[in-house]
C-alpha cells in the first residue's frame, strides 16, 4: 500500500489522521514538524505528503518549496485549518489544498485522486 507522511505539530490531530488513514489501508508515518519531515523524506521517500501549514519553526509553505526542490514529483496535499492560504501563489505547487475538518472524507478523496493521477504519469527519467 502507498505510504503517506503526515506532517502536523498537533499531537491529537496526528493520532486522528493516522488512525483514519490506516483504516483506509495506507501505511502512515508521522512527522511533528517541517524539518523532521524533510529528513524523513530524504531517508525514506513516502508516496504522498499531507502537510500542515501553520507550524512553529519552518511553516508548511516553506517546507513545500523545499520538498519539491528535493523531489519535483513528490505529491503533496496542504492540509490546514485556514482557507486564506489558498490564494497564495506559494501554495499553488501543492497537488491539493484541503481545509481541515472533523469529517476527513475530502482529505481521503483528494489522497485517492492525487495518487491515481500520479500513477498515470510517466515515471521520472
Amino acid at each position: 500500500m502507498p505510504t503517506i507522511l503526515i506532517v502536523d505539530d498537533d499531537e491529537h490531530q496526528q493520532i486522528l489522521f493516522e488512525e483514519e488513514l490506516k483504516d483506509e489501508g495506507y501505511d502512515v508515518v508521522v512527522a511533528g514538524g517541517a524539518r523532521e519531515a524533510l529528513d524523513m523524506v530524504a531517508n525514506t521517500p513516502p508516496d504522498l505528503v499531507v502537510l500542515d501549514v501553520a507550524m512553529p519553526g519552518m511553516d508548511g509553505i516553506e517546507a513545500l518549496g523545499q520538498l519539491l526542490a528535493r523531489n519535483n514529483r513528490l505529491p503533496v496535499i496542504l492540509h490546514t485549518a485556514y482557507a486564506t492560504y489558498k490564494d497564495n501563489f506559494m501554495t499553488w505547487s501543492a497537488d491539493a489544498y484541503v481545509v481541515k475538518s472533523s469529517d476527513l472524507s475530502e482529505l481521503k478523496s483528494e489522497i485517492k485522486r492525487v495518487l491515481a493521477k500520479r500513477s498515470e504519469e510517466p515515471p521520472a527519467q
Binding site: R70, R73, F89, M90, W92, Q125
Partner: protein, 431 residues
C-alpha cells in the same frame, strides 16, 4: 529588403488612437521581470568578468539599459532584474544607474539574486528563473507580468502590447517581429491565424512556417512575454514538475498553444526607421555589428531621439577632447569621424573612424582606429593600427602595435570571431 506591411491584426497606433486607448495599460498592475542570469558564453571574453546584460554597449551603455529604458518609457516602474552568474558588475550598474524611481510611490528597478526558496540549484532555465521567484510575484500580486530579456537591443512601447493583450483577453501575448524566412531557424517562430492568435510555436524550427500572405517571412519571437500572472504561476509550477529544459520558448509556450489564448503582438518599433530594429546580442559578431549600427550618418538604430531616451548610469568624466591640428603633410591631427566618442576620451593626434569609444579612452598620435569598439580606460599607443577589433576595458596597447591587420599574427595572440573581428580581453597585458 522591402519591409513587410503591418500584420492585419495590428492595432491603430496613430497618436489619436493611442491617446484614447492608453488608459487601460496604465490602470493595469504590471511588473516586469528582466532575465539577466545567462552566462553569455558566446560573448566570451566580454563575459569573462561580467554577466551578458552588463556588457558595455554603444559607448556609454550596458546592454540591459535598453530593456530598462523601454520599461521606464512605457510607464512600467516596478522592475525586477533576476541576476545570477557574475552579477557583481550588473548589480553595481543597476544600483548606481537605475535608482532613479520613486520608492515612496512604490516604483523601483531592483536586482534579485537566486533565493533558493523553491530550488536548490541555480536557475535551470528561463521558466525556472520565474518558478524560483514565485515568492516575489506573491509579494507584488500584479495582474500582468512582463518577462523581458536583459540582452536585447530595441525600442518598444510595452503599453501597446498591454492594450493588445487586454483587448483580446489573452493569457499570454508574445511580441513578434517579421524576419526573412532564411533567418527564422535561429528564433522561436509563431504560426498565427488571421486574428493574431498563435496556433503553432516552434523553437528554432528547421522548416519555419511563413506569415500568411508573406511567404518569404516568418514571425519571430522577440523573447518579450506578457502573461496574466496567475497563468504564469500555474505554467511554471506545472513545468517545474517535469524534466523539461524549463525554457519558455521550448517548453512553456508550445504547451500552452491550443489550451490557452496565446497571441502574437506585431512589434511597433519606436526607432522610427523603415526597418524594424531588434537585436539579440548573442554572439561577438552580433555585438560588433549592433555597435556599428550606431555610427552611420543616418544610423539604423538611433540613440538621439528625445521621444524615446535610453538611460544609463551617470558619467562623471570631463568632455571628450580632440587635439593637435597640424598641417599636412606629416602633421599630427586628432580626429574622430562617423564615431561615438564618450566623455573623458582624448584623441591626441590620432585618427578614429567608424568606431565606438567608451569613456576615458585615449588614442595617441598617428594611431589609426577603424571600425572598432574600445571600452572604458583603454589606451592606444602611438602609431598603432586597430581595425575591426573589440578591445575590452583598461587595455594599454603599446606604441606601434597593429590589430586586425595581420590575421595570422592576430590568431596567435587574440580571439578571432567567425567574421574576423579581433577580440582583446579586459586588462590584457602586453609583455
Amino acid at each position: 529588403m522591402p519591409q513587410p506591411k503591418p500584420m492585419p491584426w495590428t492595432q491603430d497606433t496613430s497618436e489619436a488612437a493611442m491617446l484614447t486607448s492608453s488608459s487601460k495599460s496604465t490602470r493595469a498592475r504590471v511588473i516586469a521581470m528582466v532575465l539577466a542570469g545567462g552566462q553569455g558564453e558566446r560573448l566570451y571574453p566580454l563575459t569573462r568578468d561580467r554577466a551578458k546584460p552588463a556588457v558595455p554597449f554603444g559607448g556609454l551603455y550596458r546592454i540591459i539599459d535598453f530593456s530598462l529604458s523601454n520599461c521606464v518609457n512605457s510607464g512600467i516602474r516596478r522592475v525586477f532584474v533576476l541576476t545570477q552568474y557574475k552579477s557583481s558588475s550588473l548589480d553595481y550598474h543597476i544600483h548606481f544607474g537605475w535608482d532613479i524611481l520613486s520608492h515612496a510611490l512604490g516604483e523601483f528597478v531592483r536586482t534579485i539574486p537566486p533565493q533558493q526558496r523553491t530550488g536548490q540549484s541555480w536557475y535551470l532555465g528561463t521558466a525556472d528563473a520565474i518558478y524560483q521567484n514565485i515568492y516575489t510575484l506573491e509579494q507584488e500580486r500584479p495582474l500582468l507580468t512582463l518577462i523581458l530579456s536583459g540582452d536585447h537591443v530595441y525600442k518598444m512601447d510595452y503599453r501597446a502590447m498591454i492594450d493588445f493583450h487586454l483587448d483580446r483577453a489573452a493569457d499570454l501575448t508574445i511580441a513578434c517581429i517579421p524576419v526573412p524566412r532564411a533567418e527564422a531557424p535561429r528564433f522561436g517562430v509563431a504560426a498565427v491565424g488571421a486574428n493574431g492568435r498563435i496556433n503553432d510555436f516552434q523553437e528554432k524550427p528547421a522548416d519555419p512556417p511563413p506569415i500568411p500572405g508573406l511567404p518569404d517571412h516568418c514571425l519571430a519571437s522577440m523573447g518579450v512575454y506578457l502573461f496574466n500572472t496567475a497563468t504564469l504561476v500555474r505554467q511554471v509550477i506545472a513545468d517545474a514538475k517535469t524534466d523539461s529544459s524549463h525554457d519558455f520558448g521550448k517548453d512553456i509556450i508550445p504547451r500552452m498553444i491550443g489550451s490557452h489564448a496565446v497571441y502574437a503582438h506585431d512589434f511597433q518599433d519606436k526607432n522610427k526607421k523603415p526597418q524594424k530594429y531588434w537585436r539579440d546580442i548573442g554572439t561577438r559578431d552580433a555585438y560588433w555589428e549592433a555597435n556599428m549600427d550606431l555610427v552611420a550618418i543616418d544610423p539604423v538604430f538611433n540613440l538621439y531621439d528625445p521621444d524615446w531616451p535610453i538611460r544609463t548610469a551617470p558619467i562623471t568624466s570631463p568632455p571628450a577632447k580632440m587635439v593637435f591640428n597640424e598641417p599636412p603633410p606629416g602633421g599630427r591631427c586628432g580626429t574622430a569621424l562617423n564615431s561615438l566618442v564618450s566623455p573623458g576620451c582624448i584623441i591626441s593626434g590620432g585618427r578614429v573612424d567608424r568606431s565606438v569609444l567608451s569613456p576615458d579612452v585615449r588614442v595617441d598620435e598617428r594611431a589609426e582606429v577603424t571600425e572598432s569598439i574600445l571600452m572604458e580606460g583603454t589606451t592606444i599607443g602611438r602609431g598603432c593600427v586597430i581595425r575591426r577589433a573589440i578591445i575590452d576595458k583598461r587595455v594599454h596597447v603599446p606604441d606601434g602595435v597593429t590589430i586586425g591587420v595581420d590575421p595570422a599574427a592576430d590568431a596567435e595572440r587574440y580571439i578571432i570571431t567567425s567574421n574576423g573581428i579581433v577580440v582583446v580581453p579586459r586588462e590584457m597585458h602586453y609583455a
